[in-house]
């Protein structure tokens, strides 16, 4: 029965070094511990200088995404027992600039999120006195899975296009645009289409499909983007063949 397990963590301290180095730590092995618990043990007992983000520890806030053995993972939902006998390599999320240790900069993503206009767009708002917009359970089902995105950015770390083409708006942002497009209360599909048919939009996606594979919440961004391509192509064809039908 194993007593301890080794974690090899990529450290980066910009005041001291120009590139990341791997540092090994031995932590107690507990059946119930997630990788996050091991990281906290290191920070509390072994090395207070290890920096990483975390908050809810239940897989819903999206803070703790990191590369574990080369795979984008939510460290609060990945258990030490799955990685025996170790060592476990923990690095900062791929394709993002590293600020410090396991902390990456996500300002680029935050800008991309805003670009796709992820809010209800309506020509006319219904007054509150008239109550709710009716939406049947079937209509809700159409976009519900796309609304489950916790912005953990594992999909960005898995997408080679994000790595090769930094201007690509990316899986989560496009999936969120689709979430609104498919919401029966929204009327902004045309606006979003003109943004996402551009150079940085859905057509950059080459359907590698890894984003959906790593998504911990079943958002299926790959599916969202491919369906969006179908919509986009149909729309383009219609505008070509029937240019007078402006809608």
């Amino acid at each position: 029965m194993t007593d301890t397990i080794t974690l090899a963590i990529a450290r980066y301290r910009p005041e001291r070094e120009a590139e990341p180095t791997l540092q090994e730590y031995e932590v107690p092995f507990r059946q119930d511990w997630a990788i996050l618990d091991a990281l906290n043990y290191i920070k509390d007992q072994l090395d207070g200088t290890l920096s990483f983000r975390w908050s809810c520890r239940m897989g819903v806030c999206g803070s703790c995404g990191m590369m574990v053995n080369g795979q984008p993972t939510l460290t609060c939902a990945a258990f030490l027992s799955s990685y025996l006998p170790g060592p476990i390599r923990v690095e900062a999320l791929r394709f993002f600039p590293i600020v410090r240790d396991l902390v990456v900069d996500i300002t680029d993503f935050m800008n991309k999120l805003k670009k796709v206009k992820p809010w209800i767009i309506r020509e006319e708002e219904k007054p509150l006195s008239e109550g709710e917009y009716l939406q049947t359970p079937n209509e809700l089902d159409r976009y519900k899975h796309h609304s489950m995105c916790i912005n953990c950015l594992l999909c960005y770390a898995a997408c080679p296009v994000v790595g090769l083409e930094p201007s690509f708006i990316g899986p989560a942002a496009i999936a969120l645009a689709q979430r609104y497009n498919m919401d029966s209360r929204d009327q902004g599909a045309a606006e979003r289409l003109s943004i996402l048919s551009g150079d940085e939009g859905m057509w950059q996606c080459t359907f590698v499909g890894e984003c959906t594979e790593v998504c911990p919440k079943g958002v299926d961004p790959a599916g969202a983007i491919q369906q969006y391509k179908l919509t986009g192509a149909t729309h383009w064809l219609k505008s070509l063949l029937l240019p007078w039908a402006s809608k």
């Binding site: 980066y12 301290r13 910009p14 005041e15 001291r16 070094e17 120009a18 590139e19 990341p20 180095t21 080369g70 791929r94 394709f95 600039p97 590293i98 600020v99 410090r100 900069d105 359970p137 079937n138 089902d141 159409r142 080679p160 790595g163 090769l164 080459t206 359907f207 590698v208 499909g209 890894e210 959906t212 594979e213 299926d220 790959a222 599916g223 491919q226 369906q227 391509k229 179908l230």
Partner: protein, 138 residues
């Protein structure tokens, strides 16, 4: 060990990991993806081959026999076998990806992915069987 840091107070330098040109060899899903994309070459090749075949047909019996004889050479045989493998890989990977792009709903419930994939296989086998039947009759 590490080279000198370029740090100025309160202005940390973010580290950007370089993406290697061999990125697609780092993980099997990426390699599979690139191979899938490369199958566009065998598809293009078979398209050209078909055009060549049609031209030979149009030119007459003799030209067509010459064409068939050419195809029996070991070089062409090898090439066609490899490209056929490519086309199979191409078709099967796309069968499995179809449900992502095409969501079919019947009375509000989404048809399971496996069913859409199954329909693809049925269509393929059905069409192939049909073509074989016509060829055997003729």
């Amino acid at each position: 060990m590490s080279s000198q840091p370029h740090y100025t107070a309160y202005h940390p330098k973010w580290y950007r990991r370089p993406v290697s040109v061999w990125w697609w060899l780092e993980r099997w899903p990426y390699t599979k993806f690139v191979l899938r994309e490369l199958t566009s070459l065998p598809v293009g090749y078979f398209a050209l081959l078909t055009l060549w075949q049609v031209r030979a047909l149009v030119e007459g019996e003799a030209a067509y026999q010459r064409f068939l004889a050419r195809l029996e050479s070991p070089a062409f045989l090898m090439l066609n076998i490899i490209c056929f493998g490519g086309i199979m890989f191409h078709a099967l990977t796309w069968f499995h990806l179809t449900p992502k792009a095409m969501v079919v709903r019947i009375s509000g419930k989404r048809l399971p992915d496996a069913f859409i994939i199954f329909l693809n296989y049925v269509g393929w086998i059905g069409l192939s069987a049909g073509i074989v039947l016509i060829w055997m009759r003729g």
